[in-house]
């Protein structure tokens, strides 16, 4: 693998001024390129290398798709100057710790309401997710409303939740497990 250190922008082959739409497309392309067995990369990268690269790409996407995390990152790499009176961005970091980001999401707290919060914070429309994932927007709405009775069977719900989470750039496994746990608890 190329040993030159890369920024998240370089990793996703984006300009620092890339829009969210461009970030999403770059991530979609990276998924196709570095997915297991991908025609374009299997003969160049060993399995370990590929996994390592993929973890970096996921992290890059998680940061660049989120306005606040991206601003923080841009400060870290010197793209934008630190805010006056807040050179370390300490307040933002504190804010990050109280937020339901991938890092602090746990299966105990995943509800539709929280998912909607994350989505809105990232400026993503529900229709946009429906268009990209081809999931019926009504189901996405039910998920966010915690309308468990109206949701499809688990096998479909798992897939919908996974795609929804990946589009938002948050940990899909935690979202799927957490949400199903909440749903099962509520139906008891």
């Amino acid at each position: 693998m190329s040993s030159a250190p890369q920024t998240f922008y370089e990793l996703l082959e984006l300009d620092p001024g890339a829009s969210k739409e461009e970030v999403r497309r770059a991530f979609e392309l990276a998924k196709r390129t570095f997915a297991e067995g991908s025609l374009a990369s299997y003969s160049l990268f060993g399995e370990e290398e590929r996994k390592e690269l993929w973890a970096l790409i996921e992290e890059a996407y998680r940061v660049l798709i989120d306005d606040r995390l991206r601003r923080e990152y841009d400060r870290q790499i010197g793209l934008i100057p630190s805010e006056p009176g807040n050179p370390s961005g300490a307040e933002e970091t504190l804010e990050a710790a109280t937020e339901t980001e991938a890092g602090v999401l746990s299966p105990e707290v995943v509800t539709g309401k929280l998912l909607r919060e994350v989505r809105e914070r990232r400026g993503i429309l529900l229709q946009e997710i429906a268009r990209a994932t081809k999931i019926n927007p009504v189901y996405l709405q039910y998920i966010e409303e915690d309308n468990y009775g109206a949701l499809p069977q688990d096998v479909y719900l798992r897939s919908y939740l996974g795609q929804y989470a990946r589009y938002l750039g948050i940990d899909s496994k935690t979202v799927v497990e957490g949400y199903l746990k909440q749903a099962r608890g509520a139906s008891r």
Binding site: M1, S2, E13, E22, L29, T33, A40
Partner: protein, 322 residues
């Protein structure tokens, strides 16, 4: 590839550009691409000379509808004719001429490096605007040298594992060949030779690894290799695409090359899989003449246009069109 090897740098600036079409594997459409790109450019008003540099397996003439070329490149390489003009064959296509490939066995038609350079210089003296070389399959020194001598190197790939693997192998081989051309120091040349063996004991897998070890021996040579790597930018055409996934392959290969080799592969365009192609081939006629309004013909014009304008396919535009 803007002066891909640096080997033409010292030649006069007004000299004609040379483009080479290669790709490693046979059957990926190199000859088809060279012939039809030439015709497309000729339709734009450029005077094109197509040269069959597939020494030993030449058939560019058939793709252009020239069934029995009287003189071939072999006549020039072996000194039977002194001037390259004497082996130029006109075609029925306005602005397109041909130098047919050698019809001899490969070992006979195996020119030394100086002879290849002499050939290129003489081609550049001809009254044409652009020289297009159709390279053969494989990664022999002949093929790599012509690819590296050219101003633009175009790689043809089809969306199949074997073809993709061969394109990567071609890129890697071209790379190391290019490195050897810019380095004189015996210790570094030896290291490059070792690096060409994928299972080398020094653990060199990529050009980056190699440069790292060269820097340890001689930082100035390492810097030279780094510069050589950064200016190496072959172009890619994905042929026989049947789906959006196949189209996306070009972007994915570009991305893989950037991360693995550290080079800028440029995605020039794609050509749709089209029955018209084999129908034209069976008729021994160029696609752009036989089926000028076919889907594949439109794709070829787009590729030619991108070449002229030095543009690439845009991921953003592509997704928007879906």
């Amino acid at each position: 590839m803007n002066d891909s090897s640096g080997l033409l740098r010292d030649l006069a600036s007004q000299q004609r550009e040379v483009w080479a079409v290669g790709g490693g594997k046979g059957g990926t459409g190199k000859t088809f691409l060279a012939a039809n790109l030439g015709i497309s450019l000729a339709k734009m008003g450029r005077r094109i000379i197509l040269v069959d540099a597939d020494l030993g397996c030449a058939n560019l003439h058939t793709s252009l509808g020239v069934l029995h070329p009287t003189a071939t490149l072999s006549d020039f390489l072996k000194g039977r004719v002194k001037k390259i003009q004497d082996v130029v064959t006109p075609t029925e296509i306005p602005n397109v001429s041909l130098i047919s490939g050698a019809q001899d066995f490969l070992e006979i038609a195996n020119p030394r490096y100086a002879e290849k350079m002499r050939l290129i210089r003489q081609l550049q003296d001809l009254e044409f605007d652009l020289i297009i070389l159709d390279l053969g399959a494989g990664t022999s020194f002949n093929i790599l040298d012509f690819f590296l001598i050219a101003n633009e190197g175009i790689l043809s790939v089809i969306p199949e594992p074997t073809s993709i693997e061969n394109v990567y192998r071609f890129i890697k081989s071209a790379f190391y060949r290019r490195f050897k051309k810019v380095v004189k120091e015996p210790a570094v040349r030896e290291l490059i030779s070792q690096a060409m063996d994928q299972k080398n004991e020094r653990g060199i897998r990529t050009p980056h690894d190699l440069i790292g070890q060269v820097v340890a021996i001689d930082p100035s040579v390492g810097a030279r290799l780094q510069q050589s790597m950064e200016s190496f930018a072959p172009k890619l055409v994905v042929n026989q695409v049947r789906s959006n996934d196949d189209i996306t392959l070009g972007f994915s290969m570009r991305s893989s090359c950037s991360k693995y080799f550290g080079i800028k592969l440029e995605y020039l365009g794609y050509v749709e899989f089209d029955d018209c192609v084999w129908q034209a081939t069976k008729k021994k006629r160029p696609l752009l003449l036989e089926y000028p309004y076919s889907a594949s013909a439109r794709c070829l014009h787009r590729v030619a246009n991108n070449l002229v304008k030095r543009e690439q396919v845009s991921l953003f535009d592509l997704v928007m069109k879906r």
